[in-house]
């Protein structure tokens, strides 16, 4: 069925002239849709461009702030570097200053571990190992000494080197080696 529009056109009503239609009626809706899609595209582009411009502006501002602080940050980094160097040096110096006490305490610990009937005559350090010589009232005292010295935390084992009967004094002389951990 063909539909006829009897309504007079705008030009006929107002100007009295019936102008021929520029656009066919069936094209109007698609054209409106097309125009709308173009407008939508434009609006979308505008919104995205505005947002992008905004975040780029923020980025430039942040970069400027960062650049302004870089010099001060570099100074603080140099300070930190200096502190790390000084701290390492201070620790090194402290280790050096503790070295005497460390060895003295080690010797004192050795002496304190000896049983009552055993004595230390000499002590020699050789590449970390400690060679001990001493005197014991009895042979069993040397055994007790080895057990006691082996329990020292700084040493892995106490190794017997030699035991001799002491002709001058009663008892025995012994030689031990303490192996470091």
């Amino acid at each position: 069925m063909r539909r006829i529009n009897y309504l007079p056109s705008w030009s006929e009503r107002h100007l009295g002239i019936a102008l021929p239609p520029v656009l066919a009626a069936e094209l109007r809706a698609p054209l409106v849709a097309f125009t709308g899609s173009l407008a939508l595209c434009g609006v979308l582009w505008g919104v995205q461009a505005t947002r992008l411009h905004g975040v780029e502006r923020d980025g430039v501002a942040y970069a400027a702030q960062l650049a302004a602080t870089q010099l001060d940050v570099a100074r603080v980094r140099a300070l930190e570097h200096d502190v790390v160097r000084l701290r390492a040096l201070a620790e090194r110096v402290e280790t050096i200053r503790r070295s005497g006490a460390l060895h003295a305490n080690e010797i004192a610990a050795l002496g304190n571990r000896l049983p009552a009937n055993a004595w230390l005559t000499s002590l020699h350090a050789d590449r970390g190992a400690l060679a001990l010589e001493g005197h014991g009232a009895r042979l069993s005292a040397v055994g007790t000494t080895i057990t006691a010295l082996a329990a020292l935390p700084a040493y892995r084992a106490a190794r017997l080197v030699a035991i001799h009967e002491d002709p001058q004094r009663s008892g025995v002389t012994y030689a031990l080696s303490l192996e470091p951990r």
Partner: protein, 211 residues
């Protein structure tokens, strides 16, 4: 009808293109820029934290410098040895011990050489070692006290015990003789003399007996 279809198709194509290129493309660029901004903000916050820590770091540096000023790290070799000898003599006198010999040995002879600090990320601080062989005589407790005190003088001196023995093997005397390896440490500054201790053929014997 054909024109209308074309227009409808074009409208749909424009909408799809707008979504694909304008919206998605824009979102991608905006997301990338937001990510970059986030990184910048993070760096900015890190920089602010660093700047905020400056007073603490300066205080720490002042404290460490003060701590290091208690020892003589930058003295010349001669001054270093001279100060150490004075301190050693005072220590021996205080603890009723004697120091019969002090022998300066070369770095090569003792295996001592310039040492460097393992300081992690920072560059190591070179230290020069001046090795001395010291003999201490005295009673057991006094010798141990001298060993403890020698490393705690104004001069950084690494003390190692080479041997400890009765002075008289027959046991008649309770006196002990301790042979010590001592390494005086000094910091190598850029204007200082060569880094490695120059080997010296001559030995210097110093007697510091308590009066």
């Amino acid at each position: 009808m054909t024109g209308a279809k074309v227009l409808r198709f074009a409208a749909v194509a424009v909408v799809l293109a707008a979504y694909a290129f304008v919206f998605r493309g824009g979102e991608g660029r905006i997301a990338a820029q937001l990510g970059e901004n986030a990184r910048l903000v993070e760096r900015l916050r890190a920089a602010e934290r660093t700047l905020g820590a400056r007073p603490h770091i300066e205080a720490e540096r002042t404290r460490l410098r003060g701590r290091l000023r208690t020892v003589e790290l930058d003295a010349g070799r001669s001054a270093l040895v001279a100060h150490f000898l004075r301190d050693a003599a005072a220590i021996a006198a205080k603890h009723h011990a004697t120091i019969p010999t002090i022998t300066a040995t070369s770095a090569a002879a003792t295996g001592a050489q310039s040492t460097v600090l393992a300081a992690g990320v920072t560059e190591p601080e070179p230290l020069e070692a001046l090795p001395l062989e010291i003999t201490v005589e005295g009673r057991y407790a006094d010798v141990l006290a001298v060993i403890r005190a020698l490393s705690r003088t104004r001069i950084p001196a690494a003390v190692d015990v080479a041997s400890l023995a009765r002075k008289h093997a027959d046991g008649a005397d309770a006196a002990l003789t301790a042979a010590l390896h001592v390494q005086l440490q000094r910091r190598l500054s850029p204007e200082a003399a060569p880094r490695v201790t120059a080997p010296s053929d001559r030995s210097t014997d110093v007697r510091a007996r308590r009066g």
